[in-house]
Symmetry: C2
Subunit: 349 residues, 2 copies
DNA sequence: CAGCGTTGTGCAAACGTTTGCACGACGGGA
DNA sequence: TCCCGTCGTGCAAACGTTTGCACAACGCTG
């Protein structure tokens, strides 16, 4: 027995051994109705015996489209995206698709390149969450031109009507802020990010909705824009504390900046939630481990991944080139924890 | 201008427009030396102009191997694997490869299936981190038979000599434990996982090494086996506290079980690090946010991903079928934080 | 001027599928 | 008996590359 690399059995091998044509074998394996049950059984039996596996490269080449789904995310680490990707992979592999992952590193040029390479890999469809610096849409036109279904998730360029699965961030922002109001906080600040990204814009709008509902003014000095990581949270919190009239609560558009804020507060001996209420966004794992535990808005990340994938698969099935863009909006969930509970009661509802 | 899906320019299109043969064009694009500089330039110019991108399916089919790297991980979410995958993707795409991701969901059967589908996608090589339930090796023999380079990372089946990039877990366990000893803790417990996985076995060995070095006995009742998540940490900690003579410190083989332990301790009013020292493993993000912050062992996850990928790429380059398995061992780094600092001094070294 | 090596290019086959079309066999109705 | 429809199968082309081999043109050496 030589240890020469064994060629994997091909459809031609099956055909030869069974005295059939490759066409028949191919059809038998894909369940074509015009094949007699007898032959179908013979084929599948032998296929199993020889451990036959279709060569998806060949199939893809012939069909002009592979069984690959392309995914472009700003980065794979971190709670949110890794969970979304988990959902994507699960849904895709369930449907017999593979997932090709690219990171844009929050960089527009990278994102462009990602799309190119995905197209040259002949992916059947593409899932994208925009990089934070992606403020234009041109690079997606090429994808459209080639009729490759495209689904955005979470981060979408505002004002573009595309297939998308997003969170109802406005509702998220609204609920978070209303919760703080119900807890008696009245001077509520907000951390927000780039406004060309739907997520930050909508969270802010929800925040403002809630304030207005309570007849409170939206004060410019209370809204701090940044890029929403921990150091940014430090900076933003310090800025707020330096105000002549500092806030009594913060609704942060990200758990990370909320965590940063919390560090500054702890450092200065301010008590949370007594002196300052705090609500984050994303329900990161660490939120249940901080002291106090951090109230946050859960985004159902994995569900978002699954949903986006399912939408993409639907689009792949209908071969109608361009139907009207479809939207799915997922509802966020406010998880109340200690960092915002001043009354002791979970909710004043 | 009709919006019919535009066919992407192929090598044949280039050939026709330039009055050349496809062979010449192909060679020109891949930098073959036998092509005159003049033609090479003509080809690349037109290629750029038409936005030509090679069809990697066709190339893969012809060459019998794609530009895809398969990755099998237990799951993509969570800090460790998502960071490793980040490293893998970065290194792979830098070398012109794509990354195909599969999750085994910590399940042997899934893992088997993952390998099959990766092979039918004609991946050039495979990176694997074993599922927690993978206690056998048979499914990898098929991969070997087909001469597909295989590199394991982090989790390897003990006693199998394979290409692997792992952490020096024994050193990690040793340093963590010695640090606790230096801080004056003398009755140190340990949380460990399945012993057929290198990581848990080696961390435990390192733990025992350190104890022996200090002339302390390795006590069976102080080593708790579990599967290392937060609930498991709760259970294990309770079990230890119920001992007639509870420990004064715990070195946990995972940050998650350490976090679980911390919760139990806080609940019972025990102070960390005064009453109980605590060290975790993996340097999860939340470790810097717990109270007290959790001392942990950093694994350089992203570096591990990069290294494993680079090793795989090397194996791909040498077409020698089977050289001796190569090992890379990365050094862990102990990050001392408050949860283990009883003396106030960072290290008694 | 014959012979030879070098240089640049083209021919054609191959990779493993899928699929439109054709074809043979068979059975039933007129 | 003839014709037609149905059913199951096969032929052959196509997908876009890569690559071994052949070959033409050219300049050089002897």
């Amino acid at each position: 027995m030589h240890s020469v690399a064994k060629k994997r059995a091909s459809i031609t091998d099956l055909a030869r051994q069974l005295q059939l044509s490759t066409s028949t074998v191919s059809r038998a394996l894909s369940g074509h109705p015009a094949i007699s049950e007898a032959t179908a059984k013979r084929v599948t039996m032998l296929a199993k015996e020889l451990g036959y596996r279709p060569n998806s490269l060949a199939a893809g080449l012939r069909k002009g489209r592979s069984n690959l789904l392309g995914v472009v995310v700003p980065h794979i680490d971190g709670n949110f995206f890794s969970q979304v990707v988990k959902g994507i992979e699960a849904a895709a592999s369930q449907a017999g698709y593979h997932v090709l992952i690219c990171q844009s590193n929050e960089d527009l040029a990278h994102e462009r390149e990602n799309l190119e390479t995905l197209m040259s890999a002949q992916v059947a469809g593409i899932l994208v969450s925009l990089s934070r610096t992606s403020n234009e849409f041109r690079h997606f036109e090429k994808v459209r031109k080639r009729d490759i279904p495209l689904v955005f998730f979470d981060r979408v360029l505002v004002g573009h009507d595309v297939n998308a699965v997003v969170l109802d961030d406005r509702a998220g922002g609204y609920r978070a802020t209303r919760h703080l109001l119900e807890q008696g906080y009245r001077r509520i600040a907000h951390f927000s990010g780039p406004q060309y990204l739907n997520i930050y814009k909508h969270r802010r709008q929800g925040y403002e909705d809630a304030l207005r509902e309570y007849g409170l003014p939206v004060e410019e000095e209370l809204i701090v824009f940044g890029h929403m990581d921990m150091p940014d949270g430090h900076a933003s919190m310090r800025q707020l504390l330096a105000l002549p009239q500092p806030p009594d609560a913060v609704f942060s558009g990200s758990d990370f900046s909320a965590a940063g804020a919390l560090e500054v507060l702890t450092e200065r001996g301010l008590r949370v939630p007594e002196d300052m209420g705090l609500v984050g966004f994303s329900n990161e794992v660490f939120g249940r481990l901080t002291l106090p535990r951090l109230t946050s808005v859960d985004q159902h990340c994995e569900l978002m991944g699954r949903t986006a994938t399912r939408l993409l698969l639907e689009l792949l099935d209908e071969r109608e080139p361009a139907s009207a863009p479809r939207h799915v909006v997922l509802q966020p969930e406010l998880l109340v924890r200690a960092s915002s509970l001043r009354t002791g009661r979970p909710e004043a509802r």
